[in-house]
Every structure is written in structure tokens, then in C-alpha cells.
């Protein structure tokens, strides 16, 4: 594996949570590397630490120790504003529970990352482009007619596709998905996986967490996490 081709590296990641007076060690020295354009599935039983690992990879959480590198850059060295920029530009998140803002329409939810990353004046300059791209993404994901709906007016599958559109809005280099089909029936879940496969064929790097072996098999590579370590 050529180092130049690695987009994401994790070295000796440790993470624990306090539980009462005790301390639960969730990750116990995880090493991981993901190549650019790769579709990786992380599998493991419930409580094995796979979601925690995904959150650490996307800097939504901090490890107790260990290093996460993106394009060779140590993310722990980034300041808070650089981390915000990283979350905004470099990665897109897809969550099990969709996590759309109820007060915004589907279209607004999709172009939210562009709004969040721009000043008022910057937004005025980019709003036309952002709305156009958001509509295109929704069209591509079959939600063209749902753009002005509110998230609660959508089915689970539609909400997840809206969440994928939002994750792709800023054309991130890395897409992180946490149990993206975990809350959907098998038919709808399969539709979401087809979207991922299509994105992957287009060169998108994807790291997906799932507890379902059948879902994981759709990825290029499967990493199994057992008791906080890669098996």
C-alpha cells in the first residue's frame, strides 16, 4: 500500500468512557488505514466501539490517545476553527437517525453545509450555486419533488437520502456513514446501499459502520472490530 494513496490513517487509538466509578475501555489500540477511493465497512457487535471509532475518524470525538491523520496531516494538531473547516469541507457524515433539522426544508437541509461555511456576504455570493447543486443532488437521489417538504413529511429512506445529499453538498473527500441502513427496512436499505455503490464507482471514499454482515459485503474491504481491537 503506497503511503501517497492513503487518505485516512489511525494509529493506536484508545478511547474510554466513565461509567459510574468505573471506566469502560471502548477502543484499545486501533490501527487503521483507508486508501483514497476505497469503500470500507467496519463491522462488529453492538458495543464493540465501531461508532466511536467512526466519530473519532471524523473528529466528532477525541481519542484518549493515538493519532488520526487525514492526507498525512495529524488532526489532533488542528485548532478548533481548522477542525470546523475540516468537518465542513473534507468529510460528510451520514447518521443512522438521519439527523436533519426539523425547522428547515429538505432543500435547506441539503445546502446547510454551504451556508454554515460561508459568511453572510459569502453566502449571498454562493447561494445561487448552492441551491442549484442541492437541487441536482436531490434529483440524483430521487428527491427532486420533495425539496420543499419538511423532514417529518418524508419516509425513513427519503430522509436518509436527504442526509446523504447534505453529506455530499461540499464534495467531501471522505464520506463517513454510521449504520446508514440500521433504521430502514431491507428494501429501502438496499436502495441506500446502491447510492453508496454508485458514489463509490464515481471515486468517493466511503467508510461505513454496520453490524450487518450482508450490508458490509457491499464494501471493498471489511474491517472487524472485536472488543475494541481490529480482529
Amino acid at each position: 500500500m503506497s503511503n501517497n494513496n492513503l487518505i485516512l490513517e489511525a494509529e493506536q487509538i484508545y478511547k474510554s468512557y466513565p461509567m459510574g466509578l468505573a471506566k469502560v475501555e471502548v477502543l484499545k489500540g486501533v490501527d487503521l488505514a483507508v486508501r483514497r477511493g476505497e469503500f470500507v465497512a467496519i463491522v462488529g457487535a453492538s458495543g464493540s466501539g465501531k461508532s466511536t471509532l467512526l466519530h473519532i475518524l471524523g473528529v466528532l470525538d477525541k481519542p484518549d490517545s493515538g493519532v488520526v491523520k487525514f492526507d498525512g496531516q495529524d488532526l489532533s494538531r488542528l485548532g478548533s476553527s481548522q477542525l470546523n473547516k475540516f468537518r465542513n469541507k473534507k468529510v460528510g457524515f451520514v447518521f443512522q437517525f438521519y439527523h436533519l433539522l426539523d425547522e428547515l426544508t429538505v432543500l435547506e437541509n441539503v445546502f446547510l453545509p454551504v451556508m454554515a461555511g460561508a459568511s453572510v456576504i459569502g453566502w449571498l455570493g454562493r447561494s445561487g450555486w448552492a441551491k442549484k447543486r442541492a437541487k441536482e443532488l436531490l434529483e440524483q437521489l430521487g428527491l427532486g419533488k420533495r425539496a420543499e417538504h419538511k423532514p417529518y413529511q418524508l419516509s425513513g429512506g427519503e430522509r436518509q437520502r436527504a442526509a446523504i445529499a447534505r453529506a455530499l453538498m461540499n464534495e467531501p473527500e471522505l464520506l463517513l456513514a454510521d449504520e446508514p441502513t440500521g433504521n430502514l427496512d431491507s428494501v429501502t436499505g438496499n436502495g441506500i446501499l446502491e447510492v453508496f455503490e454508485r458514489l463509490h464507482r464515481g471515486g468517493q471514499t466511503i467508510v461505513m459502520v454496520t453490524h450487518d454482515e450482508r450490508v458490509a459485503k457491499r464494501a471493498d474491504r471489511i474491517i472487524t472490530l472485536t472488543d475494541g481491537k481490529i480482529a
Partner: protein, 449 residues
């Protein structure tokens, strides 16, 4: 931009936001109404005191009075910054209806009605002679009789709506006024013989200053006659005070300072003159200082009311804090989502402060509008309540209050609105800062949904 959009949506879509908005509106409404009425009453009271006193008073609290007032009045009259000067006799006495055994204690004020009307608003306080104050002491029924002007409450009672029942003309009423003449040294002038001076005056007019104590205590007499009654018309004539009105544009404090300087020089020039020691007890005061005992009580009430409503303001902060705590707690998922797309902690706080600002501004607007409508109709509402339920905010037969003040002060309004918005921002700041400090993953946990 998302901050503005989300703040507006939070305000419109969340019913709990309306609760915060209504809480702010109610507080603004209450504070505006109470402060307008209270400030209006104090302002009205001060204006009446100012009009009653003039701008500046050279006077003494001693009943012996002070001499050479004519010389000093003449000096004052020659100054450019002074518009009017009026010497006044001040003492106490007894008044009784002729041939009546019953008498009441009163304050005797001896004036020249023309000069006193120029220095104060005396002419406007008269009922029958307001157009011609020079005839204030000439009873309409017989101008040759010595007249007296009575504080209105000494003669007339008010009905429950505060209206006096005037007769078309003053009725012929003889009043015996008794004074205790004092020498320049303060001893009774006629000790050993007849210690009092009594003279009969005839009711010629009433004076309604709007100051309850004045209107129920003061009897105005012609200057020279009051001077004789009080024993101040000896070889060296004395009076109790000189009321002064400055020309328009003259600063009150600067005017008083100039009079003070003049008075010091005048006292020095009279050193060694007969009864000159009485000049040392004379003070030069602005109308505010002269009436401070009366005004201070009212201002104290205003401070107490303001303090009480500051507590209401604190309650608002607490209500807004609780409401925002609930809103922010319910919105922790949104905070996680926003952070996951790169929104900073500062911008999360900014979003909720934006929201708080909107609650504050719309709550204040609603409260101000309601307060304005209420105040515009407050006198009508009170009249309706009195007509149907016999309720009055102030019993007009007791309090010298006409209409309830309803003019909203722009300054007071601005302070209230700024405080309301600041209260909202303060109430929103702590919960939103706490929420913004959470790691994104904490907010997005399933248990938080």
C-alpha cells in the same frame, strides 16, 4: 445566514418560544405602564412645585424674616438674567369665620399679586381673577373690602372625580385672620398687652396650585397687610422670602449661583446695619432645594417603585433563562448536527443569542404596543371602572391628582426595551454556552434525541 433562518424558524415554530415572547411582552407592558404613570406623577409634581415657587428663593425658615429685602429686590430687578422678583411674607396664623368659635391653623403668605404672578404661576391658580391677578384681593361683591385668597381645599371639597363645585361668583365671607407678631429678635411684639394681631379679610378668590399641602394650608393676604399682622412693618421692614424668576434660557444652577454671589456681597455691604444679623440666616436656593422635603418623598417613592420593577426585570431574566434552558436542551440534537457540518461553538451561541434577540425585540414591540394602547385609554378605563364598579386608582377627593399621566417618555421607553433585550440575551447566554461546549458526538447520542 443559517443563524438568522434558524432563529426565525425557532421563534415561529416552537410554542415554547411564544411563551418566552409573551413573558417579555407582559413585563415590558407592566413596566411601561407603571413607569409612565409614576414618572408622569413625579414630573407633574415637580412642575407644580416649580411653578408655585419660581426659579430661585432668597429666604429664611425663621418667622422673624429678614430686613433690607427692598434694597436687594431692587438690585435683583436690575440684573439682565432676572425676569421677575417678588418679596413674600411667610408666617403662620389662625383663620376663623367671623363670629365663629372655631379656628384653624394656616400658613400666611403675604404677596403683591402682580409681581408674585410674574415670578410664579399664581395668576393661573386663581379661579375668579386668573385673567387679572392685580384684583386678586378685591372681592367681586365689594372691591373696597380687604380681600384674601384661600387655598382651595380650605373652602371647597372635591367630588369623587376630583371636581370642585364652584359658585359662579365668590360668596361674601368674612374671615378673621390672627397672627403672632414677632420682633426682629424673635420675641412676641406685643408681649404684656395684646399678643396677637387680628384683622378681618373677605374671601375674594381661591388658589388651586395642585399641591395638596399648599391648597389645604395657605391663605394669601396683601403684602403690606400681612407685614403689619406679622410685626414686620417696623422702622426696618422685614419679609420672609424673595421669589425670583430667571429669564428664559438662563441655567437654573448658574442663575442661583449668581444670586448667591450677589447676596454675599449684599450681606457684606449691610454689615453693622440694624438687624443685620438676620441676614446671616438667609439662604439662596433653587426651587428644587427649596422644595426638597416635598419632592424628595415623591422621588423616594419613584426609586422604590423602580427598584420593585427591577425585581420584576430579574424575574423576566429568570423566566427567559428557564425557557431558553428548555429550548436549548430540546435543541441539543440541532447543535450536534450544526457542529457536524462545521459550525463553531461561537456560532452556536450566536444562533441562540440571535433567537433571544428576536424574542426580546418582538416581545418588547408587543409589550410596547399593548402598553401604548392601554395608556392612551387609561383615563377612559378608570372612568368606566368608576362608573360601573366604583373603583378608582386614586381617590380624587383625597389626592390632588387630575388625569392619570399617559405620556410615554421616549427615554424611559428606550431604557425599558434595551433592558428587555439585554434580559433575553442574558437569559439565553448561559444555556447556549453550556450547550455549545458539548462535543458534537455528545449532542448526537441517541439518548439525547
Amino acid at each position: 445566514m443559517y443563524k438568522f433562518i434558524l432563529a426565525i424558524r425557532y421563534l415561529v415554530k416552537r410554542r415554547i418560544s411564544w411563551l418566552a415572547l409573551v413573558a417579555v411582552a407582559l413585563c415590558v407592558f407592566i413596566v411601561i405602564v407603571v413607569m409612565t404613570v409614576m414618572t408622569g406623577l413625579v414630573r407633574d409634581f415637580k412642575e407644580k412645585n416649580h411653578e408655585f415657587t419660581g426659579d430661585c428663593v432668597v429666604g429664611t425658615e425663621s418667622l422673624t424674616g429678614f430686613p433690607y429685602y427692598e434694597d436687594f429686590s431692587k438690585e435683583l430687578g436690575e440684573e439682565d438674567f432676572i425676569e421677575a422678583v417678588s418679596p413674600v411674607i411667610k408666617s403662620y396664623g389662625l383663620v376663623s369665620a367671623a363670629h365663629s368659635q372655631r379656628s384653624i391653623g394656616v400658613e400666611i403668605v403675604g404677596i403683591d399679586p402682580v409681581s408674585f404672578s410674574r415670578a410664579t404661576n399664581f395668576a393661573q391658580t386663581l379661579h375668579y381673577r386668573s385673567a387679572n391677578a392685580a384684583k386678586a384681593f378685591e372681592p367681586e361683591y365689594d372691591p373696597n373690602l380687604p380681600g384674601c385668597v384661600l387655598g382651595i381645599d380650605l373652602l371647597l371639597n372635591r367630588d369623587a372625580r376630583g371636581k370642585y363645585l364652584f359658585e359662579p361668583r365668590p360668596s361674601r365671607t368674612a374671615l378673621e385672620v390672627t397672627c403672632f407678631p414677632l420682633t426682629a429678635k424673635g420675641a412676641l411684639a406685643k408681649a404684656g398687652t395684646d399678643v396677637v394681631n387680628t384683622k378681618t379679610f373677605y374671601f375674594s378668590d381661591v388658589s388651586q396650585s395642585g399641591l395638596a399641602r399648599v391648597d389645604s394650608d395657605v391663605v394669601y393676604l396683601p403684602f403690606e397687610q400681612a407685614q403689619v399682622l406679622c410685626g414686620m412693618a417696623g422702622a426696618v421692614k422685614r419679609d420672609g422670602a424673595i421669589h425670583i424668576k430667571f429669564r428664559p434660557g438662563m441655567n437654573l444652577e448658574r442663575g442661583c449661583d449668581k444670586v448667591r454671589t450677589m447676596w454675599q456681597k449684599f450681606v457684606e455691604s449691610k454689615a453693622g446695619a440694624e438687624s443685620a444679623q438676620l441676614l446671616k440666616q438667609v439662604r439662596v436656593e433653587s426651587w428644587k432645594e427649596y422644595r426638597r422635603e416635598t419632592i424628595a418623598a415623591m422621588e423616594k417613592e419613584q426609586v422604590i417603585v423602580t427598584f420593585m420593577f427591577a425585581l420584576v426585570g430579574l424575574t423576566t431574566v429568570f423566566i427567559v433563562f428557564v425557557v431558553f434552558y428548555m429550548i436549548v436542551s430540546h435543541k441539543s440534537k440541532d447543535i450536534g448536527i450544526l457542529k457536524s457540518v462545521g459550525v463553531s461553538s461561537g456560532n452556536v451561541v450566536g444562533l441562540f443569542l440571535y433567537f433571544a434577540f428576536l424574542v426580546g425585540i418582538f416581545g418588547s414591540a408587543l409589550g410596547t404596543l399593548s402598553g401604548w394602547v392601554f395608556l392612551k385609554n387609561i383615563n377612559g378605563i378608570e372612568a368606566w371602572l368608576y362608573e360601573h364598579f366604583g373603583f378608582q386608582l386614586w381617590d380624587r377627593s383625597i389626592y390632588a391628582i387630575g388625569a392619570i399621566p399617559d405620556q410615554i417618555s421616549a427615554k424611559v421607553l428606550a431604557v425599558i426595551i434595551i433592558c428587555a433585550i439585554a434580559a433575553c440575551l442574558a437569559g439565553a447566554f448561559l444555556p447556549s454556552r453550556r450547550a455549545s461546549r458539548m462535543e458534537p458526538v455528545e449532542s448526537l447520542q441517541v439518548s439525547q434525541l
